[in-house]
Symmetry: C2
Subunit: 249 residues, 2 copies
DNA sequence: CGACACCTTGAGAGTCGTCAATTGGTGTGG
DNA sequence: CCACACCAATTGACGACTCTCAAGGTGTCG
């Protein structure tokens, strides 16, 4: 069991939703001071995980949802056969654990892909709070609904698209998520290994690798290890839509 | 636009959550009379759709979630290219529209696969009600979370499993959903066409057809058109797990 | 510098999609 | 009542994308 981290009683952490640069992404609230404070009351901030550490584990009791403050998280399901299936990547401002709200235990395992800090929302307190704050409740519905849609999009990608289309879509998704945080949308470092990408997209590692080099040869991207530069975003967007046409060259 | 269906003011419909055989599936509540009545107050019951009719359309304003009373519903997304992607099948007792709670418009189109009756939950009233009833709110979280998990399961199926495994999984899923309604889990009629199955599972129609006949030849099922009989449920379950082993057969 | 994990590249095989033709069931109209 | 059209489902042949297996390359950390 993880050593309990002592929570400072009157810590400066408590006030930081106010200052958090992600407050508009994570659980945005009307700018009423009052509301934000009530949220801060239940949040446990500043938990930090090193690369590879687990934020929570599949089949252990479900206690909290987590918002990513910095770093990134990979969620995955371990099947009976022991195989891993990556179900998502979570970047700063995104909420992890929404898929676990239907059972006593976590539905997946969450692992830090790099040094990652999170805010913890104990589920009981969160539910209690959303019961009192219609806007917060609405936002929870919004987030969960969004997650369903994302998952449907992923299913579409997996069921209908080629390896190139899947990878182009992932790159563009990451790009727009970096952009949302006011980081460069064309020049970033992948937080996950090729293996994770392959697993997530339902491909073999070798295929991912081949597509990366193919994209590079076509001048769409420049990639060195995890460093990626998108050279031709439009072309990538075309790739993701290409499958609906007939004769791709 | 659909002609508004006149709602009878003091209709006998209003009381029927009490009598609905699906009340334990749809939005189960503690057996407090009071609670159930408040739910009934906001539900519009008894809307009936013929086969092929749309319950709602993608990109039209999102107003309500719908519970299936009888019949069945197919949801699908139409891509920019005009392609259809089936995202789910909904049977009696299941709630449709949860993926649309994050936007102004429906995220998908819902179509009746047969003559289907539904209960309508106007979203504004539902949110208002869940704000007052912690148990109902909890159940909404539960349902949405479940939907996320289902979608992840689907993504897993699509990304890692063969055609046989996908179809076996679908048959077993339908089986258990029939069973939950106290219908035969081994002898039922598919509400959807082969085409829909194929689309949903990311396969070609021809492949679905081939797998059906293969299963039939192996004595796992008996199928004539949409009538299906599961002859060897255990074998089907084995098929769905088979992929995690090495040498199948 | 060596061990190790990660990534890349190559060759061959298999599953499934595409194209095409046939069958079966259903509804319409003569 | 039968003929025809139409659509859903089936079956076969071929081709392609991607997986598997195998080896080589690159980077990192002790």
């Amino acid at each position: 069991m993880a050593q309990a981290i002592p929570i400072r009683k009157n810590s400066p952490l408590k006030a930081s939703c106010h200052e958090c640069s992600l407050s508009n992404l994570c659980l945005p609230l009307a700018v009423e001071e009052n509301d934000l404070e009530r949220l801060e009351d239940i949040v446990q901030q500043g938990r930090i995980f090193n690369r590879g550490e687990h934020i929570f584990d599949q089949s252990t009791p479900f206690r909290s949802c987590f918002a990513v403050k910095s770093g990134s998280i990979k969620t995955s399901i371990i099947t009976e056969g022991g195989e891993e299936q990556v179900t998502g990547f979570f970047m700063p401002g995104e909420l992890v654990g929404l898929d676990s709200m239907s059972g006593e235990t976590y539905a997946c395992t969450a692992k830090a892909l790099e040094r990652t800090s999170v805010c913890e929302f104990p589920i009981e307190k969160l539910e209690e709070l959303t019961g009192k704050m219609p806007e917060l409740q609405h936002h929870m519905y919004h987030l969960m609904s969004q997650e369903i849609q994302n998952s449907h999009q992923l299913a579409m990608l997996l069921s209908k698209n080629t390896a190139e289309e899947r990878i182009a879509a992932l790159l563009l998704s990451l790009s727009s998520r970096f952009q949302r945080r006011r980081l460069s949308p064309t020049n970033f470092s992948l937080p996950m290994a090729r293996n994770d990408i392959a697993n997530f997209l339902g491909l073999a590692v070798e295929t991912v690798s081949r597509v990366f080099t193919r994209f590079q040869n076509q001048g769409l991207i420049r990639a060195r290890g995890r460093e990626v530069e998108l050279l031709d975003v439009e072309a990538l967007q075309t790739v993701t839509r290409e499958f609906s046409r007939q004769g791709c060259q």
